[in-house]
């Protein structure tokens, strides 16, 4: 199989772009808002 590093670079670039776009949308704060609460679903409580 020929080496196709451009696929790896493309995926990494796409990942970084998504990450930055998410940060720009303020998603880190949304993640934190949920993560600082005890997750009842994770414990097994509905």
């Amino acid at each position: 199989m020929k080496d196709q590093r451009w696929i790896s670079y493309g995926l990494a670039a796409a990942g970084i772009c998504m990450l930055l776009a998410g940060l720009a949308r303020g998603e880190a704060a949304d993640v934190m808002q949920k993560a600082v609460m005890i997750c009842l679903e994770c414990i097994g409580i509905r």
């Binding site: 199989m1 020929k2 080496d3 196709q4 590093r5 696929i7 790896s8 670079y9 995926l11 990494a12 796409a14 990942g15 970084i16 772009c17 998504m18 990450l19 930055l20 776009a21 998410g22 940060l23 949308r25 998603e27 880190a28 704060a29 949304d30 993640v31 934190m32 949920k34 993560a35 600082v36 005890i38 997750c39 009842l40 679903e41 994770c42 414990i43 097994g44 409580i45 509905r46």
Partner: protein
């Protein structure tokens, strides 16, 4: 049984990552979770954010919760973290960083933990991945308009262990709310704990949605295992060293590979390498340099 002792450096990295991700040590003593600003950071591996020691957020839980909330939005932040990690190293995160992967390896009995997993069970993790990606927005409570993190609710044994047992059981108010669902989750956790004794990483191989996701990146990640066919003696030492018994020489970047890199360490001819550089047979041929060599070969044949 492993012929080669496990890489102590990898074990050290695994413990360091587990400690770094769960460095809120007072939380374990008090049964309380960390609520500081570092919780904004999404870690690239499975680590329940309701673990009393967790400093960061679990990507599986965070993604599902964002999708289940009223806006039903896909979290680009979480998707970006895991896509970047996958594009760089595929399942390297599973083999070197994941605390739940470490737990499975620590609990394994080395002489008997290589029982094979029936092939159909290996596909369950892709169903789990689909459930994580789509169920929170497909199964919505009609009265509230909200979905739920269904993988966390019904399956995730890491959540049961870290949040259920370490936080839930110690809190009288939460303990009072526990019912059949908690018993189900404890049963799932118990089943995996028993399986860990006999099968190498049973959760990663059968049920982890993140492992399924990263596995898709294995063949195309920037850093991957390169097999130099010119150096390979077909001794199959790599297959014997592989805890998953994969045919590494034939498929060095199999989606099931957790990138423990024991095969690379064991290869007696250095035919395997974990690198971003292509293997010699995959490198583009320099036509200008190859012409004279071809001519010499013809002359020798004559």
């Amino acid at each position: 049984m492993h012929r080669h002792p496990l890489n102590p450096r990898r074990r050290l990295v695994q413990f360091a990552a587990a400690l770094a991700a769960n460095a809120h040590l007072t939380g374990f003593a008090e049964g309380r979770i960390y609520q500081g600003p570092v919780k904004q950071v999404c870690v690239p591996f499975l680590n329940c954010y309701s673990c009393p020691g967790a400093l960061g957020a679990c990507p599986v839980g965070s993604y599902q919760v964002m999708l289940a909330m009223s806006g039903h939005s896909v979290s680009l932040y979480v998707a970006g973290v895991v896509t970047t990690a996958g594009a760089l190293g595929g399942r390297l995160v599973c083999g070197w960083l994941c605390p739940f992967g470490l737990l499975q390896e620590v609990l394994a009995r080395p002489r008997v933990c290589r029982l094979p997993v029936p092939r159909p069970l290996l596909w369950i993790k892709y169903l789990m991945l689909a459930a994580v990606l789509f169920l929170p927005v497909l199964l919505i409570n009609s009265s509230t308009g909200l979905g739920a993190p269904y993988f966390c609710t019904y399956v995730c044994p890491a959540g049961t262990l870290e949040a259920g047992l370490l936080v839930g059981l110690r809190d009288p108010a939460l303990r009072a709310l526990m019912g059949p669902l908690f018993i189900w989750k404890v049963a799932v956790l118990a089943a995996f704990l028993v399986a860990m004794r006999f099968v190498y990483r049973p959760f990663c191989r059968t049920a982890c949605p993140l492992g399924a996701f990263y596995g898709l990146f294995n063949p195309v990640s920037l850093w991957r295992i390169r097999h130099d066919a010119g150096r390979c003696r077909q001794c199959h030492t790599c297959r014997e060293a592989c805890p998953l018994q994969l045919a590494v020489d034939r498929s060095p970047n199999h989606p099931e590979c957790v990138r423990c890199l024991e095969c690379v360490r064991a290869c007696p001819t250095a035919a395997l390498a974990f690198t971003a550089r292509p293997a010699p047979q995959d490198q583009p041929v320099d036509t200008e340099r190859s012409k004279p060599r071809a001519a010499v070969k013809c002359r020798l044949n004559n």
